[in-house]
């Protein structure tokens, strides 16, 4: 250890660090630490001259370890690892001391901040002495993809993958393709037929040589890891079938809210209170009428049924406002003399062409009646004298009046919610659900179709309420991610992962239950646990939990951590 030659580089980060921390003093103090051969400060260490300075020192001063005291490693660890790799050092022989986020940005006192920065640098120096050179490895990448769900998202993704020449296994729970879009009549805002949109795709999917469709089938098990999954299906014939797939794309969609949960709307009790999907069926059949077969004179559309509510779903289902306007428009087209009203608490007809659609619907003489979220309208049967089938009582917000509105047909814009089997699928493919039950993406902005499990992607309305263009876009985005991996031909496995030392493992399987990524395998024959390095994220839960101390996390060894702790004290 005595022969290690450590270089310490302290960054000013413009004035971000330098205005609070005495950067030259930190560098000077570092020179005092045994093992430190070079310590320098610079304005921007991450700049090209800064990186070159480090590289030059590595060659000229024969440095063996590097400490960079600057920003968070999340920001520039990759930059500096690459820099020292270019200079011939193993990238894992780098250690960063975060003297910006954890020091200059949060402290006011320059003296104390400088002392803290010195301590952080000291800790990094003590740690880096124990760092070991590590090499990342690669594993083969199976080019075929398992697509779960044959809705509009799954169809798009399957076609896109297959057109790129890759094998797709398209698994659909129902006996037909098309998902929820197959239940629609026209699509907003351009009033294209949903059936026309789907027909073309479905026939292409059915004829595509690279797509194998499994109808009435379900995923029962997913073994393996990124690039090398082994999905098991229960097929139509009740057979159990194992496939090979490098990637898994989950696009299982949504289901609609059960409108009978809101008692005052009378769904299920009043025959002419129907859901939006039931109206779609009526429109498709071209039979817009009440249960008794009469043409409705008053049609009311109630928005946010189950959405934006404290009791049911707080989120907005996003597509129903525009869909409701579409109904207003369609009803007026079918029955020009009908009175159509939209009862809403919020109206948000977002998206391309949809704002114009709002205007069009309002100019088609539909009225907009606003109610408060905590004062939902209620519907009751009308008497023979009322001249209508039902009466809706609503406390109208803008006039402050309690209004009684005639209605013959009431359409409930039911919210979108996660399918009842969403949590089961999440468990099978090892992804997480948010508090509402939607699948969670890896990063809401920068990585919206990936998940925390490498090789498993999500797209469409299984992730959150989405309209058709968004679902299609997401399906294609996921395909881009998958094809990029397929093009590489192999997957890179990070050098940082946990390892079980077989000699010390007693096979208690504590680690198995602790691992959040499902990376632990158990060898029942040898009574030993084994960690799949490609799945492991090196969180360290297993190592901390192992009663025998048999698990070692590469790059986070006990020596390294103790060194860091002693260094900071």
């Amino acid at each position: 250890m005595a022969e290690e030659r450590i270089g310490v580089y302290v960054c000013n980060c413009g004035t971000n660090i330098g205005k609070i921390v005495d950067v030259p003093a930190v560098a000077q103090a570092a020179m005092e630490i045994p093992g430190v051969a070079v310590a320098r400060s610079y304005k921007y260490m991450c700049s090209n001259p800064g990186q070159e300075m480090i590289a030059k020192d590595i060659t000229e001063n024969k440095l063996t370890r590097i400490v960079v005291a600057s920003c968070s490693p999340r920001m520039h660890e990759g930059t500096f690892r690459a820099a020292i790799k270019r200079a011939g050092l193993n990238p894992y022989l780098l250690e960063m001391a975060n003297i910006r986020e954890q020091c200059s940005w949060i402290h006011d006192d320059p003296v104390d901040a400088t002392e803290k920065a010195k301590a952080l640098v000291h800790a990094a120096v003590q740690r880096v002495k124990f760092n070991e050179p590590l090499e990342s490895r690669s594993a083969p990448m199976c080019p075929s993809t398992l697509v779960l769900g044959g809705g509009v998202t799954g169809l798009t993704a399957a076609l896109e993958l297959a057109d790129a020449g890759q094998q797709v296994y398209l698994v659909e729970k129902q006996d037909h393709l098309g998902g929820n879009v197959a239940r629609l009549d026209l699509t907003a805002p351009y009033l294209d037929s949903a059936q026309d949109i789907l027909r073309n795709w479905i026939s292409r999917v059915e004829r595509h040589p690279f797509i194998r469709i499994f109808l009435n089938s379900e995923l029962t098990e997913l073994k393996g890891f990124n690039g090398n999954f082994k999905p098991r299906l229960r097929t139509e014939d009740g057979e159990s079938l194992e496939l090979d797939a490098g990637s898994v794309l989950v696009c299982t969609g949504f289901k609609e809210f059960d409108a009978s949960r809101i008692a005052q709307y009378g769904y299920g009790r009043l025959p002419d209170v129907i859901t939006s999907f039931e109206l779609e069926a009526m429109l498709r059949a071209g039979k817009l009428q009440t249960k008794s077969g009469k043409q409705p004179r008053y049609v009311s559309i109630i928005h946010c049924v189950g959405s934006r509510s404290k009791e049911f779903h707080r989120y907005c289902s996003r597509v129903c406002c525009t869909a409701g306007l579409k109904y207003a428009f369609e009803v007026k087209s079918a029955i020009p003399s009908a009175h159509v009203s939209n009862l809403y608490s919020d109206m948000e007809s977002f998206g391309k062409g949809c704002e114009d659609f709002y205007r069009k619907a309002s100019e088609a003489r539909t009225s907009f009646v606003m109610f408060a979220k905590n004062q939902l309208p209620s519907i009751r049967e009308a008497s023979a004298l009322d001249g209508c089938g039902m009466l809706i009582t609503v406390k109208e917000q803008l006039s402050g009046e309690e209004i009684e509105m005639p209605a013959d047909l009431v359409v409930l814009m039911v919210s979108m919610e996660p399918r009842e089997d969403a949590s089961l699928i999440a468990r099978l493919v090892n992804i997480s659900c948010d508090k509402d039950g939607w699948f969670i993406e890896s990063h809401p902005k920068l990585d919206p179709v990936a998940t925390t499990t490498d090789g498993v992607y999500i797209a469409g309305a299984c992730q959150f309420p989405r309209d058709i263009p968004e679902s299609v876009t997401q399906g294609r985005a996921a395909v881009a991610r998958i094809l990029a991996k397929v093009a590489q031909g192999k997957i890179t496995v990070d050098a940082v992962y946990s390892e079980v030392q077989d000699k010390l493992c007693s096979g208690c399987r504590t680690c198995f239950s602790l691992c959040p990524y499902g990376a632990v395998e158990y060898d029942a024959e040898k009574h030993l646990s084994h960690i799949i390095s490609a799945v492991c994220k090196a969180c360290g839960c297993c190592a901390a939990g192992c009663p025998a101390g048999a698990i070692k996390v590469r790059h986070y060894t006990d020596e390294q951590i103790y060194g860091q702790i002693e260094g900071v004290l």
């Binding site: 309002s362 907009f368 109208e396 006039s399 509105m405």
Partner: protein, 384 residues
Amino acid sequence: MAVRANPDLIDELQQFGARDAVKCYQCGNCSAACAHSEDPYVFPRKSMHYLQMGLEKPLRSALDPWLCYYCGKCSEQCPRGAEPGETMMGIRRWLTAEYDFTGISRLLYRSWRTELITVLTVALLTGIGFLSFGFLGGGGNLSVYDGPGAFLPAHDIHIFDWTMGIILALLLSINCVRMWQFTMRNEHSAPVSFSLYARYLLLLPLHFFTQKRFRKCENKTPWANHLVLMLSYLTMLILIMVFLKQMQSGPKVNWYVHVFGYASAIGLVGTASFAVWGRLKKDAAYHRHSHESDWMFLGLLLFVAVTGIIQHVLHRAGFPMAANITYVVHLMGVVPMLGLEVPFSKWSHLAYRPLAVYFAQLQQAAQAERALPLGGSAKPQPAA
């Protein structure tokens, strides 16, 4: 108590000229732009909304439409082209029909054909009536215009004027009582004590004669035009009702009658022509839309003013027969104009508007009185 919505209301109002109210999405820009809109009389927004919701009863009991003078600021500001100013105008027409107990107003407003036929019929009957009277009961000689033996003796016409005036005032008064019932005697209005009615009574002549609220509108031209029109008309009315003998006399010139007569004739023709020109040019928001009743009103006004002037000129120039014939033609305009417009159409607002200002003030005073603890003195806000 829930208010029953009438979804047909907005369609009904369309016939009264409120065409674009459907476009409104309740942003409230109109009320923000309006100099008069003040709690609780937040218009045009509130009225627009009542209309959209089909709240017939609240709309019928609203004073708001009468507190609007249609300067057009709201329509200029409307981001949706919903023409709130014209909607308010349409609501006023509808309210006029609602107040009218005879139902004639509704017939006239909803169909221009009915209106035209009614006006022509009344004009024809007036012509026949006066000719018959002139030949049978009057002077009998068409070539005598003034003095003893005049074809239409001033004394008899005077009686006719007063009879008609009283009948019209009676009809309008009944409609005013209905307005009072709708606007002051509903579940939302505060009870107003007799002393309050008395205390604010002077507001009626004040607003009738000065129209000072109209001046609050940002755009002053309509106010000036309206005031000149109203004062000219009033002057003419007083001349006819009180000084008819002096007008229909000769050859001596009665100067004070003539000066007022000329001034008001110029005022009437000038302002009416200005309005016609504006409505044809459509450059101001308040002139962009014209209901058939607007044209009828302006047409009759101009007709009456011009025939009046011709009659006067012919009389002074020494053509008594022509003057007499023009006199009958003039009356054929006057009778339908006053007979139909005052109780049943546009001119009724001469009563409804000051009344609305008065009622609104009373409501505010009554609300303030009610809000104060016992012994406190009510200090109502000045008229909105």
